[in-house]
Amino acid sequence: MVENRPFLTFLTHAFLLLGFAVVALPVYVAVIASTHDLQTLLTGSVPLLPGSHFIENYSQILTGASAANGLPNYSHMAMNSLIMALAIMAGKIAISILSAFAIVYFRFPFRVLAFWIIFVTLMLPVEVRILPTYKIVADLGMLNSWAGLTIPLIASATATFLFRQFFMTVPDEILEAARVDGAGPMKFFRDILLPLSRTNIGALCVILFIYGWVQYLWPLLVTTDTGYYTLMMGMKRMVTAQDGTIPWNFVMAGAVLAMLPPILVVVFMQRLFIRGLTETEK
């Protein structure tokens, strides 16, 4: 810092700790609520210290508390979320790195048009074209299938831009050297470009895993078969129980478990996460 002001530094720390407390409050309360039984939660206000039903709640949610709402097992939904997140992540990266490679390293008719078609996807988020997209997926017979859940979500302009940007910074000499040595385009791609893109791919993996994991609207539209339900839809179904009270203790245990994977990814891969976030959004 520019100058030493102990009191201001103290205030800064206090402000940050207070801010962290406020930001963490909902999650803290969720964790606390997941360790009490339902009776305690319903008798007025939620206690602020952990209770004694931690093991009971979590083992119940993992072994079938969700079945009461007509949902599949929690672990089944967690598996669905994982498959969906990984498929979207891998799919997005694969198709965008290939198309960025084509756009940067080849000169061909309609190249600029192709670039613009990809660009347009930025302007058409699922949310704004819900009904027609649903109709197309239905016409193609892709409702209630992994293909319908993942393929419409894997086109990504941002990932393509990121790879394009990065490829433009790769020195031309590398390509020239590779060509002199007789490498074809695919060999160049596999043996040189792909290894060079490792960090970018890693950063994108973190961002896209989260993107896939938290998807809600799309699965809500294309799956009616509860066998394809993801955790996000399960959570929503559990809090909208038509009859009787909401099993808050199980809901909160379920919410804590569903939050955990992406939060762990962010915390442990913070550097890649920040890189991915700040690079993809420009």
Binding site: V27, I103, V120, T121, M123, L124, L131, K236, Q270
Partner: protein, 294 residues
Amino acid sequence: MDTKRTTFNNRLLPYLLLAPQLIITLVFFIWPAAQAFKSSVEREDPFGFSTVFVGLDHYRRLLTDPNYLDALWRTGIFAVAVTVLSMGLGLAFAAAVDRVTRSSRIYTTFLVWPYAVAPVIAGVLWWFLFNSSTGILPFYLSKFGIRWDHDLNGTHAMILIIIAAAWKQISYNFLFFLAGLQSVPHALMEAAAIDGSGPVKRFFTIALPLLSPTTFFLFIINVNYAMFDTFPIIDATTTGGPAQSTTTLVYKVYQDGFVGLNLGSSSAQSVLLMLIVMVLTFVQFRYVERRVQY
């Protein structure tokens, strides 16, 4: 648009490489958008046997429908409130973390994880906190004479979704503001300090003006987020109620299209939303080109 100085000269290969992305984009993006446009100027008879071209009828009806105009206005308020709240807090945290260089890593970790919480879950958590029978916050609010009830009170419901949506977005704004602050030249700060301006003055007269590109960029991103990515928060908590008081434009497209099955109106709404995104994207990219100067 430029390529490399040297390129490969295969004829077919580039098309093959582009094919997966282009096919998906055409089938699941361009085609539905065209369909939305087409059904926004048509009316289907109740049995779906025939469609009539009705021109701008749906649009005219929408733009004179008080429900739609309400939703438009509400979405505007919601977007601005979420943006101001989350950007304000993000900037405050970033400024604080930027001051405490030595422990900035740990504080960053403290503050970034809400980004990874799914919107549905963010909604459920805040809903639980504000729940009028079990929640903590209504209990404390009642001591100030406020009877919190987001199931009946539209304003309360709106405040709830604003808080939940802003909470999730703080980390994002924080990271960008922090990156912006860290790139403010140190020499400027030192020079100002030597001239006798204190930390607060330096922040407002040096750091903040230099951050204006970041601020503008974040403003667009946040408005975009509040308008389009908050569907799960609303659906998990208020489902647009009570009495439409939290129905944003996106939620209305969903309700009119899927619940109300009003194809023409829902499509017209989709087209209007696309126009909004286009304007936002255009503004964002114009700005990105100019960002280089700073």
